[in-house]
């Protein structure tokens, strides 16, 4: 029962029932669209209406409570309004508590940031509810720091949980942080470890941002944790959540960020002008020059046109380069720098000379470390390596692939080997792209590979385009510039690139275990194989490569790392696109049928969104094959 002005008693439970039934039938939008604004107005200053509102929601039967609460949380224009409308519902009603603290936060993840802000703000606004806030934070952190959750839950869910954590942190007060400081620290360390272990850059960044924020909150004085990562919209949005905004609506943080940057720049300019004043005003000798004749005039200058900037000359012969790069004389540092910069062009201009010393040069470059600080050293070295590999593919490929599986190389070096192989394969198969990448069209992944794991996105783009070009037979006109044709140099050497890489993947070495800890390298290896397969189209070895690749994928198909799985699915795409249809249908039908059922499984059940998309794509490609089979008159 409740009281309204006029002294009349009334029961509100009928209204609650109606509300509940309507909501559970999916009509939240209609009814709450009218009800919520009205109640917002009424409850603004009238506490009787507030109590009416609270009773309204309290009397909703349990079986419809979830729909109602969810509706309110989604529709309320702010946390304080939600607080007015729901009151302490979450404390009094078990079902509401479950929905708010468990279901919305941990079991669902498709709500907007505004919803999260409403919900968590609501929990923070009342002393009774704040204990729930702390409990919620602890549970969120448990999920965030659990390694199995990081490995198996979709990226969107992880983003959602990270946002929720940051919002909780923003609401915490000093004494509360004090009380759970130790737990926060432990969770932060564990969570950081799992996130940094992941092969997906997005997850690593999420982990870094959240860990930084936690560190900021628990270390009010002294150094805080700071990672280096590229800022993007996602990270900026996350960081903005940490700052409490008292307004009702979410304020976009980007203008603030820009303003801060400009302020920083302005501060930098000021000290410079202060310094200049130190050196005082230069004295202008005006009177002197007018009065006296310039007695310097009788000193005639000599010709100084030869006066140029000093350039250290790089060696002109390849063998000299080798001497300089392997020499240990520390004085010739300038020459070493000049050699590193000039090496790529020298190699390309002297193919015959390079072929004589190709393996030695490849060895030197693989082990070359930065002696002085050169800009773009990594790129210079990589380009030189690619140049050597394309000039003399077979011996150098043999060398590099053997080194990939050798002892005592760092992960970085092994991944460099893979990058170099891919770039060289690209260059060999489409030589027009070397240097001048002005050609339009989808094929532009060259430089991206330097940065690593984002290559899968570009290749997906390319594969998409290829699919488009294969499925639409109508005249669409020239969508791409026609390139002049020339022989595919990759054809004769594809096997040397591909097979050695695929041979030893299951043999662990003392310092290198592809199937164990080094799953990042495995992921890169799988992507590399996919690219090599793709580039091998129209080559002689393509069928044999396809068979080997199919076996390889089959062995690894249940790998737990989603980056590896993405790579495996890219392998299948490349295979389906590169191996001629007749060969596929002749040699690999059984394996393909098995693969098809696996792809169906992946498409439905894989937690990673990219994997599901790739699986769907592969199934579509297979459909095309089937159509071809049916189209061929038997």
């Amino acid at each position: 029962f409740c009281f309204i002005p006029g002294g009349l008693d009334c029961s509100i439970s009928f209204v609650s029932n109606v509300l509940g039934k309507v909501c559970v039938h999916g009509r939240q939008k209609e009814i709450l669209g009218v009800l919520v604004p009205r109640l917002t107005d009424l409850t603004k200053s009238d506490c009787i209406w507030q109590r009416i509102c609270w009773q309204l929601v309290e009397y909703v039967p349990d079986r419809w409570m979830e729909a109602v609460v969810l509706g309110f949380v989604q529709r309320a224009p702010g946390a304080d309004v939600l607080s007015r409308l729901l009151g302490n519902l979450v404390v009094k009603n078990k079902k509401a508590q479950f929905v708010v603290t468990q279901k919305i936060l941990l079991l669902q993840y498709d709500h907007t940031t505004a919803v999260l802000q409403n919900l968590l703000g609501y929990l923070s606004l009342d002393g009774l509810r704040r204990t729930l806030l702390l409990r919620v934070l602890k549970e969120l952190l448990e999920t965030w720091s659990s390694s199995s959750a990081v490995k198996h839950s979709p990226a969107e869910q992880q983003l959602y949980i990270s946002k929720a954590i940051l919002l909780c942190l923003s609401h915490l007060k000093e004494p509360e942080i004090e009380s759970c400081r130790q737990d926060l620290l432990t969770s932060m360390m564990e969570g950081m470890k799992c996130h940094l272990d992941s092969s997906l850059p997005q997850l690593r960044r999420l982990g870094m941002v959240v860990a930084e924020s936690i560190s900021l909150k628990i270390n009010t004085e002294g150094p805080v944790l700071k990672f280096e990562y590229e800022e993007d919209d996602e990270t900026r949005e996350l960081k903005s959540l940490l700052v409490q905004t008292s307004s009702l609506y979410v304020v976009p943080s980007l203008p603030d960020h820009d303003r801060n940057e400009k302020a920083g720049a302005a501060l930098l300019l000021v000290p410079e002008s202060n310094e200049k004043s130190h050196t005082a005003i230069p004295v202008m000798p005006d009177e002197e020059s007018d009065a006296e004749l310039d007695s310097d005039d009788d000193l005639i200058p000599y010709d100084m046109s030869e006066d140029k900037e000093l350039k250290i000359k790089a060696p002109v012969y390849i063998r000299d380069c080798i001497e300089v790069l392997t020499g240990s004389r520390s004085e010739d540092v300038d020459k070493w720098e000049a050699t590193v910069k000039a090496l790529e062009s020298l190699v390309r201009k002297n193919p015959a000379a390079t072929r004589e010393v190709s393996v030695e040069l490849a060895k030197i470059l693989l082990h070359l470390e930065e002696k002085t600080c050169i800009e773009g050293f990594v790129e210079l070295r990589q380009r030189a390596q690619v140049a050597v590999l394309t000039t003399d593919p077979i011996p150098v490929a043999k060398y590099l692939t053997s080194q990939f599986y050798s002892l005592n190389y760092s992960l970085r070096q092994r991944m460099d080997i893979l990058d170099v192989l891919v770039l060289a394969a690209q260059e060999l198969s489409c030589p027009k792209f070397h240097g001048k990448t002005k050609h339009s069209g989808a094929q532009k992944p060259c430089i991206q590979l330097l940065l690593g794991s984002d290559s899968s996105k570009d290749w997906r783009r390319i594969v998409d385009e290829r699919i488009k070009s294969k499925t639409r037979r109508f005249d669409m006109g020239q969508s791409r510039v026609d390139l002049a044709s020339c022989p595919n140099k990759f054809s004769s050497v594809a096997g040397y690139f591909f097979f050695p890489l695929i041979q030893h993947f299951d043999r662990p070495l003392a310092t290198f275990d592809l199937l164990g800890e080094d799953h990042l390298v495995l992921g890169r290896l799988v992507h590399t194989l996919a690219i090599l397969m793709y580039l091998a189209v129209n080559t002689v070895a393509v069928t044999a490569m396809g068979k080997a690749l199919l076996e390889f994928v089959w062995a690894l198909r249940f790998h737990t790392d989603s980056y590896v799985r993405q790579g495996l699915l890219s392998c299948i795409s490349s295979l389906l696109l590169s191996v001629p249809t007749e060969q596929i249908l002749a040699d690999m039908t059984e394996e393909l049928l098995e693969t098809q059922s696996w792809l169906g499984d992946v498409m439905e059940k894989d937690p990673d969104g990219d994997c599901r998309r790739l699986a769907l794509q592969n199934l579509l490609l297979m459909e095309n094959l089937k159509k071809k089979l049916e189209a061929v008159p038997s």
């Binding site: 310094e275 130190h278 050196t279 005082a280 005003i281 230069p282 004295v283 000798p285 310039d294 007695s295 310097d296 009788d298 000193l299 005639i300 200058p301 000599y302 010709d303 100084m304 030869e306 006066d307 140029k308 900037e309 000093l310």
Partner: protein, 328 residues
């Protein structure tokens, strides 16, 4: 049509080590032989006969440690040399002798050349970097008594002194010291009172070398950066920047003004010697001979202007001697 730059008049070879210091002694009347003293990285001081272009004597007094400063004290018979063995040696070279008469243990481990100033007959003041990092000590020679120690104030953060020049406006007036420091500033010290008269930040990098024209109260300093800085001294003894000149390549090891104050020469890290007019710093010539960093340049003190020479010593172990603008 400008003439191409001249070639060296002759080149002195035979030091077998990089040349770090040069000093002419050609002022004596005929038939005295004009001499050039050179200090090398292998610790030897070579006395070159400028008529025969051969070494007269080689002096070994610094324990095979690099000699980076040579100066004569009133004639070619008294020589002062400074080496990396932390010693300053005074030599007696009269009548064919080659003996060290005295030495000062400076305990200085840097490369700052000392500066000499004759204050009275037989009495010299010498400014040298001392053991303590930022200090400059003034000694009286030949008595080796300390006149004063010039210490910058606490927190000045000038760094090591890199180059020194003692001078006085006229005979009998107060001696003052110009010191270039590691932080790029040039400081004017009053020697008798041991106080700073003026300080000026001339460069962003350490001051490698400086020279001063007391008549025009103008000085020039070179650094490891691309800029030459010219500064002047006004009546209140304050240093002010007069002009700066940007070079093509960075790095100056030495800068010296010809005694007639008409031209100056710089020794560059880019293997070139550059000649400028002193009045307005008009670039006059770029002398290209050496194949490594030029460490030092020095003008001769010939009484006959037409015989004047310029010598440059380099890391390539050669000393090039030039006759340039000798006609004016």
């Amino acid at each position: 049509m400008a003439l191409p730059p001249p070639d060296p008049q002759f080149v002195l070879r035979g030091t077998s080590a990089a040349v770090h210091a040069l000093h002419f002694s050609c002022g004596g009347p005929e038939p005295e032989i004009p001499l050039l003293f050179s200090g090398s990285e292998n610790g030897f001081i070579h006395v070159w006969n400028l008529k025969t272009h051969r070494v007269n004597t080689a002096l070994d007094g610094h324990g095979r440690k690099s000699v980076y400063c040579v100066e004569t004290m009133g004639g070619k018979d008294r020589l002062l040399s400074q080496g990396r063995d932390q010693r300053i040696c005074l030599w007696d070279l009269a009548e064919g002798r080659t003996s060290v008469t005295d030495s000062v243990f400076t305990e200085h481990v840097g490369f700052c050349r000392c500066s000499l100033l004759k204050v009275a007959q037989g009495r010299w003041l010498m400014a040298m970097a001392a053991r303590s990092l930022e200090e400059v000590q003034i000694l009286e020679l030949p008595s080796k008594t300390s006149v004063c120690t010039l210490k910058p104030e606490v927190g000045a953060k000038l760094g090591m002194p890199m180059c020194l020049k003692l001078w006085q406006l006229s005979s009998g007036s107060q001696p003052v010291l110009l010191a270039g420091y590691e932080d790029g500033s040039v400081v004017l010290w009053n020697v008798s009172m041991g106080k700073v008269l003026s300080q000026l930040i001339c460069h962003q990098e350490p001051v490698m070398s400086l020279d001063f024209d007391s008549e025009k109260a103008k000085g020039i300093s070179g650094s490891s950066e691309k800029v030459l800085s010219i500064w002047s001294l006004n009546e209140q003894q304050n240093l002010q920047v007069y002009k700066t000149h940007e070079l093509v390549n960075a790095g100056i090891s030495d800068v010296t003004i010809r005694p007639d104050k008409k031209i100056l020469a710089t020794a560059g890290w880019d293997h070139h010697i550059r000649i400028f007019g002193w009045k307005k710093l008009k670039p006059l010539a770029v002398l290209d001979y050496h194949t490594a960093t030029v460490h030092c340049v020095s003008f001769s003190d010939h009484s006959n202007p037409r015989q004047r020479l310029l010598a440059a010593g380099s890391k390539d172990q050669r000393i090039s001697v030039w006759s340039i603008y000798a006609q004016t």
